[in-house]
């Protein structure tokens, strides 16, 4: 018995210029905020962009972008609906706002299913909002997606970086490309993260300050794009892609 889905995944992604998995060993470091903002910023610069929320246990991008009332069209697969100019895909289309108590094996299976049936079409960028840690979703992206790139997010905190160090080490071991490391929620100047990242021979992209107004922009794309946070994402990430 052969699972036929595995063989079609890279064909479904074949017309995508660059695939970027926004990832971290740690939760709550800003992966979803950065993934959403990065996707919007690239789209505003005229690129065709897809955004895929792969944090099935804790999907967040639909809250950040206030996406409601959409559902993929069925047509030789499923077509991600447009939201704020992005082709947007998330488990919430199917789970609505119910809890999804999925084990790793279910997450892996659902990921394979979505990759096998989603028709992204031509895109310049596909941004993937990853769950925290180095579990099924991360291992599946490494295993299945040819040419995937990781954008790694950390905070200045020692506990956050400790887990990010492990992710970087894993990706380096496996020769998976790292776009760079972003230090999010900076509250003061400290070279600690930059030094640590450089010691691991990974590209350090820069820091994003803690933005006290960010929470107020939750669910309001226009406001979000006007924040200092969004400006930093544009400066240190979007412009470098």
């Amino acid at each position: 018995m052969v699972d036929p889905r595995l063989n079609i995944i890279n064909e479904r992604l074949s017309k995508i210029g660059k695939i970027i998995a926004v990832s971290s060993g740690k939760g709550g470091v800003g992966k979803s905020m950065i993934a959403s903002t990065l996707a919007l910023a690239l789209s505003r610069r005229g690129y065709k962009v897809g955004l895929l929320d792969l944090d099935f246990s804790c999907p967040s991008t639909h809250v950040i972008l206030s996406i409601e009332g959409l559902f993929p069209k069925e047509e030789k697969g499923i077509i991600p609906p447009e939201a704020h100019g992005l082709r947007y895909m998330s488990i919430v289309y199917y789970a609505r706002d119910e809890p999804s108590p999925l084990r790793g094996v279910d997450i892996s299976n659902a990921i394979i299913e979505l990759f096998a049936i989603t028709q992204w079409g031509s895109l310049d960028f596909l941004v993937i909002d990853m769950p925290p840690g180095i579990g099924d979703a991360t291992l599946d992206m490494i295993r299945f997606v040819n040419g995937i790139n990781f954008l790694i997010v950390t905070t200045p905190s020692k506990v956050a970086f400790e887990t990010v160090r492990k992710l970087i080490q894993l990706l380096k071991d496996l020769k998976v490309p790292i776009v760079g490391v972003v230090e999010n929620m900076k509250m003061r100047d400290s070279p600690f993260i930059r030094e640590q990242v450089e010691r691991l021979a990974a590209p350090f992209l820069g820091g994003i300050n803690f933005d006290y107004k960010l929470e107020d922009s939750m669910g309001d794309v226009k406001k979000l794009l006007e924040t200092e946070f969004a400006q930093s994402v544009e400066e240190i990430v979007s412009k470098k892609l």
Partner: protein, 132 residues
Amino acid sequence: MHEWALAEAVISTTLKIAEEKELKEVIELKIKIGELQQIDQEIFEFALSQLRSPMLKNAKFSLETVKAELKCRVCNHKWKFSTKNMDHDVSEFIHFVPEIAHTYLKCPKCGSPDFEILTGRGVWLDSIKGAK
């Protein structure tokens, strides 16, 4: 009609295997369809036939549906999947992503969503008969 995407996966995998095995022609394709995913078999067969490449021009497609059985990880109760009394939207969600069953179904004995899908999940390429 997302059946088409799955049919395409089946054909593409068949061609890959046929190439590896250096087949000249594929004679029969056995496909197992898990009940949980509620594939529209007519559409699926239509898609398969539309996707016939020269290598598959005379291939017979044998489809078999596999009943879906679920097993609770908490109390070990086993039960059969049924769309009877199921909300139409929910059954459609499971059609697209079978794992979504964990969001809406519960063990009928203990109420847990922590169950295993023993059989009847997904679409499988069971075997290929070919000529060299």
